[in-house]
């Protein structure tokens, strides 16, 4: 049987549990960041361990292969420089025309590259932690993209040196999306299920939505967090729900969220 000191220890632990669970959201967030800060010395270890297989494979690449890749990258770089110069001209022209017509200027974005340092330890959420924080100008609810420009999610719980990224498909990351078809149907991206990390559901679509497998899905720009036209994925299939009043589509994400290593965070100018 339990003795008196046991009851005291148990009572203290139970009290602490209740206290922590009932703290105000702001205090909980601060406490969470403070406790998570204990892991900071180990973050370097995690990233270097994750890079170990890549560095090992780098050692095995022959000089000839490296030279071939170097040449190919040089050509790609030249092409990208040309495209970039053209894009700058188009952007200037666009800005001038907007001024003439009297349209509102589009908001510009700065980008910060961050590395994924930790992943969600619990099974029910889809989040990762990246090595960018308040020090780099990161705040809550900033869009996050892959290095290829596909949507990853949004920032949350930002500390001084790191922040959490809530991934697309997590119940806490809902994205207003548009299908690139004739009727430009819009809906909301939500979670598809706990095991299907590469699939999400596009709900709240009109029952007359003209959906076909393979159609592109991009952000609609509504909702205030994600700028429009960021690629999300492609339609897999669709069916009627809510007694035929709405259409629900499954979307295969363009970004491979299980293999994220580096991501761009968009900061508004």
């Amino acid at each position: 049987m339990l003795k008196r000191p046991h009851y005291i220890a148990l009572g203290l632990a139970a009290l602490l549990t209740l206290l922590v669970l009932n703290l105000p959201a702001r205090a909980t967030a601060r406490l969470k960041l403070a406790i998570g800060g204990l892991f900071v010395p180990l973050f370097g270890l995690a990233s270097s361990t994750q890079q170990l297989p890549a560095s090992a494979s780098d050692l095995l690449i022959s000089r000839r292969e490296l030279l071939r890749q170097n040449e190919s990258l040089r050509r790609e770089n030249q092409q990208l420089k040309l495209q970039s110069a053209r894009a700058v001209n188009v952007e200037r022209e666009n800005a001038r025309l907007r001024q003439i017509v009297g349209w509102q200027q589009q908001k510009g974005w700065k980008m910060k590259l961050g590395s994924v340092i930790l992943r969600e330890p619990a099974n029910w959420w889809r989040t990762v932690q990246i090595d960018l924080g308040q020090r780099e100008g990161i705040s809550n609810n900033l869009p996050v993209l892959t290095t290829d420009g596909f949507l990853v999610g949004r920032t949350a719980s930002v500390s001084l040196t790191r922040c959490q990224v809530v991934l697309v498909g997590d119940p806490n990351c809902r994205v207003s999306a548009r299908v690139e078809n004739e009727s430009r149907d819009t809906g909301v991206i939500g979670s598809a299920g706990p095991l299907e990390s590469e699939l999400v559901e596009l709900g709240y679509l009109s029952r007359n939505a003209l959906l076909k497998p393979g159609q592109e899905v991009v952000t609609s720009g509504l909702g205030g967090i994600f700028p429009k036209d960021i690629p999300i994925g492609k339609i897999v299939d669709s069916h009627q729900v809510e007694f035929g009043f709405q259409t629900l589509a499954r979307v295969r994400l363009a970004a491979n969220l299980n293999a994220l290593e580096e991501v761009w965070v968009l900061l508004s100018n």
Binding site: A13, L16, T17, I35, A46, I117, R119, G169
Partner: protein, 183 residues
């Protein structure tokens, strides 16, 4: 239980949470992450005092929630409940048997996942649930069953090499000494 033993356990909880977040091998291979804290709490409940169980549960739960999207304190209660339930009944458990350790680990893994989910739902959160959740709970439970005997062996080895051995009773008894000599 001495201080070194408690420090081993707290350090192990810290490293277990970090390993779970840094190396998501289970999620990549099986679609579900294997929880490392339930086996540790089972070992603590079988080898330590109730204060030790409380400390490991509170420390491990807070660390886990700090790296997760869980509200802070969600994992603390399941670990505490599991640990205390095993501690109260530990006199009835054949704790050195691998089968008993595996069964306890399986039950602890499943209980941890289920109670965490119930608390999340009670707090008004909407975790990603579906039929796949059953698979995730099964993986967590099986992982607990496999890892508990390993945890037991690991700490036995660590204790054997790093802690002082128990003083054994000498066979010498002065009252049974044969006195030689006169009278």
């Amino acid at each position: 239980m001495n201080l070194a033993h408690l420090l081993f356990l707290l350090t192990a909880a810290f490293l277990a949470v970090f390993a779970q977040a840094a190396f998501p091998v289970g999620r990549m291979l099986l679609g579900a992450q294997i929880d490392l804290l339930p086996p540790l709490v089972v070992y603590t409940a079988l080898s330590s005092t109730l204060s030790g169980v409380c400390l490991v549960s509170v420390w491990g739960g807070l660390l886990f929630d700090s790296l997760s999207a869980n509200p802070l304190g969600t994992s603390l209660a399941p670990l505490l409940l599991t640990g205390v339930a095993i501690y109260i009944n530990r006199e009835l458990i054949l704790k050195d048997q691998v089968f008993a350790q595996a069964v306890l680990g399986t039950c602890a893994g499943a209980a941890f996942a289920l109670i965490s989910l119930l608390i999340l739902l009670h707090l008004g959160n909407r975790p990603a649930l579906g039929w796949g959740t059953l698979w995730q709970i099964a993986v967590t439970a099986t992982g607990g069953g496999v890892l508990t005997p390993i945890t037991y062996r690991f700490f036995g080895w660590l204790h054997h090499h790093l802690a002082h051995g128990q003083v054994t009773q000498t066979s010498f008894r002065p009252d049974r000494e044969i006195r030689r000599g006169r009278n």
